[in-house]
Amino acid sequence: MRFSRKNLLIGSLGLFLMVGLVFSTAQSQRYRYRPELSESLYLPSGKLLKEISLGYRQFVADLVWFSAVQYYGEYRREDHDLRYFISLIDIVTTLDPHFIFAYTFGAVVVSEDLEAFSQGIAILKKGMSNNPTNWELPFEIGFLNMIHTRDMDVAARYFDLSSRLPGAPERAKRFAAYVYSLSGDATSSIELWEKYKEYTDNPYLKELADRYIARLKASGQGGVRR
């Protein structure tokens, strides 16, 4: 290869561009995290996304689900206050009305972390109207009622309904019997969450239960509510 003046010029230009790219990439990294972007997250409605996703709404639901999970993870790292979580769950369940885990996970997080019991129940009731034969949704409504309102009659009614739906495991029936046996007892929330852990198969819901038990223990309340 001859080192002509022209080749030298092209080589120098290439080197300059490479150095420029490396420098500009490095200096733009300081803007990688922009808190105002995630705080004022733009959320189109689930109905709009349902139409513009054409025939691929399941796939879009998954992408929004990833965002919801990541958003919850950020909250666990104390990056924000979880204020858009309900909207994210609403979008996911509008795009995919049969995504049962989104309802249960969303409702538990909304009731426990956001302490918005009625909105948690609303998520589960939306799920029930879209999936009337699913046993998990009334089971969760029963459990959240048991933990939050201590209305054992309402809780027992939902456990009973859950146990009579197709595919309900034996444990749903046992939970209904357990609740009937509790009526009037001042059972601690810790104990109820321990019981929940025993009855759910889902590792993510078990992990959430562990988190709430640890939180109750740390607060020193023991969580007795009547």
């Binding site: 139409e51 054409l54 025939g55 691929y56 709404r57 399941q58 796939f59 639901a61 998954d62 689900w65 990833f66 999970v69 990541q70 995919d96 049969h98 995504f99 885990f101 989104a102 996970f105 889902n202 590792p203 993510y204 819901l205």
Partner: protein, 262 residues
């Protein structure tokens, strides 16, 4: 029987020529890329999917098969007519005892066979990923893949119709527009019901019936959640897709017959 042979032989010869052309363009590389991307995506995205790994793998797989099938049809098909026209190949083919209808049908069959083969390979890779990730496989998944192939067949027919009289760019544009409209067509009726007067309702109804109804061929929700379809659904929409395709190809043939080929 002889008459059928007289039509089928040139059609199949052109179809074979089309398939060979696509193989030369290495379209099967798309299947390889799909296989690699799906495997990587299923392993990388699974931890993010918290409690919905099986659903996410099924969603991504079914959506990717459909999207890549349609993309292949648009990319490959839009330019193939003009390439033959500009190279003088079309004129020399039509100088032989091959009618224009046979040519159109040959192009259509060749494209369908090639893209269906790619989609089938993608479906096999998808099943393999499902098995290795312990995701349950049920009959609705096969139904969904089958209906995606029918959808691709309808899009190919539309692409063939547009490529018979427009430039490759416009052909791709029109095909994509009709694909989008075909997914939104059912909203036309609802929109007219809520906002329209009698005239608008009539226009909306005509639009609804003239545009392809791709939502019939989308059973991905049912496939992901193993939900049942009404009795006779698959047969009914298959017949719809067949007749829609034949009508569009017929129109394409009629337009192509009236065109001057130099």
């Amino acid at each position: 029987m002889q008459r059928v042979d007289r039509f089928a032989i040139p059609t199949l010869t052109i179809a074979r020529y089309v398939v060979k052309g696509y193989i030369k363009e290495r379209i099967f590389l798309v299947a390889l890329i799909f296989a690699f991307a799906l495997m990587v995506a299923s392993y990388l995205l699974s931890p993010l999917a918290v409690g919905a790994q099986g659903k996410v793998i099924t969603d991504i797989g079914l959506a990717a098969i459909s999207i890549l099938g349609i993309t292949l049809v648009v990319l490959l098909g839009a330019s193939s007519f003009s390439r033959e026209r500009s190279g003088g190949i079309l004129a020399s083919i039509l100088a032989k005892p091959v009618s224009r209808i046979e040519f159109i049908m040959g192009k259509y069959v060749g494209t369908i066979v090639s893209v269906s083969a790619v989609m089938l390979i993608m479906a096999c890779v998808f099943m393999l990923v499902m098995v290795t990730s312990n995701t349950p496989i049920h009959g609705m998944i096969f139904t969904s893949v089958y209906l995606s192939v029918l959808e691709m067949g309808m899009v190919t027919a539309l692409m063939t119709l547009f490529s018979s009289f427009t430039s490759p760019m416009l052909c791709a544009f029109f095909t994509v527009c009709i694909f989008v409209c075909g997914h939104l067509s059912k909203n036309l009726l609802e929109f007219a019901e809520v906002f329209g007067g009698a005239g608008f309702k009539l226009v909306a109804q005509i639009g609804y019936y003239v545009l392809p109804n791709f939502s019939f061929l989308n059973v991905r929700t049912e496939a992901v959640h193993a939900l049942p379809l009404p009795d006779g659904y698959v047969l009914s929409v298959s017949i719809y897709a067949l007749f829609y395709t034949l009508v569009v190809l017929f129109l394409g043939g009629v337009i192509f017959r009236s065109r001057d080929i130099e």
